[in-house]
Amino acid sequence: MDLPHQGFRATKQRARAAPSAGDAVLFDDTSSAAPGMNSQGFYTPAYNMAGPSNDMQGAPGVNNLFADPMASAAMMYGSSLANQGKDMVNKEINRFMSVNKLKYFFAVDTRYVLKKLMILMFPYTHQDWEVRYHRDTPLTPRQDVNAPDLYIPRNSAMFSPEVLGLCASTALVWIIIEVLVMLLSLYLLTVHSDLSTFDLIAYSGYKYVGMIFTVLCGLMFGSDGYYVALAWSSCALMFFIVRSLKMKILPSISSDSMGMGSNSKPQLRLYITVATAVFQPIIIYWLTSHLVR
């Protein structure tokens, strides 16, 4: 049974007795129901709104193999311990990272991924940037192209540090710094937006796509190709970030009643969006220039 990425499977080592139960808590595999969604063989994300199905009866089925009662008793004891440990770990994890919120970010499909990549590289023709809602909760990326996702940034972040020989921790450190600075500035200016931490991580991670594209062009076409690709992806990324964050941070023109946005000066918030956008190409250049001399 292929397991998804390690980062969200803290219970992998204990799940030997009941591997399917561990899957049910974090991810539900609906690939049999929707055959068009398997973009990569080892990763089948799904977002099940009906709640995870609890089948924890994996353990008793194994016990029938043991004729020795001591071994079977020990097996049951071990599996009950493992279940307790798993519940405890899940509870602890849910205190820090809301797993449902994370599931929202990974509920993508191939159509969304392709459209999103095209918008990232060529955002000039996209008309409608508003994130669509469905009864007060934001739509999953499967239904709404404008919703941020973590699937693309995570895969690009994995490719970009490893394949291209960047120091992974440097890139990670810059992402952490950038997200912290964004959070701090949003807090100081009392912007009451619905941008959560994960949203900011998602938007910061989109620059890795540009980074990969830039470095690939640089490797294929030499330093001229690098600069051309850098200029192109910088403009596209800046446009993308400004248009995406404008909807969330700046006060919307069509606000109902007395303006639900904050009362801080709108020009400060404009500065935030523009500064974020300008920061992206600087970081791309900084992190990749030593590869293409």
């Binding site: 120091c167 440097t170 450190v173 952490i176 807090y187 100081l188 200016l189 904050s262 009362n263 900084w286």
Partner: protein, 104 residues
């Protein structure tokens, strides 16, 4: 510039310690940033200066003891990693002691 996660944590700890060390009476009130000067404006418009003052006060409240303890831990680790001679360890100890004294 090769940053590691460890150096980021160290830099963040030192920055937070710097914020936590800003003394309320001796310094912040003198430049008009004390918390008793931040009342007023009961609408939903705190303004950036009031937010900053609240932030400084929160950091100070939370990190008072924690900073000292964390600084001791980090200097101990760095000392172990460096494996240098005795006078360097005295320097580390003095450095941390100094930082800790500022909290009084």
């Amino acid at each position: 510039m090769a940053f590691t996660l460890y150096s980021l944590i160290q830099a963040a700890l030192l920055c937070i310690n710097a914020v936590a060390v800003l003394h309320e009476e001796r310094f912040l009130s003198k430049i008009g940033w004390g918390v008793d000067q931040s009342v007023g404006g009961f609408g939903d418009e705190p303004g950036i200066k009031v937010q900053l003052m609240n932030l400084i006060r929160s950091v100070r409240t939370v990190m008072r003891g924690a900073c000292y303890f964390l600084l001791c831990t980090f200097s101990h680790f760095r000392q172990k990693m460096a494996k240098k001679k005795n006078y360097v360890t005295f320097y580390q100890f003095f450095y941390v002691f100094n930082l800790g004294l500022c909290h009084i």
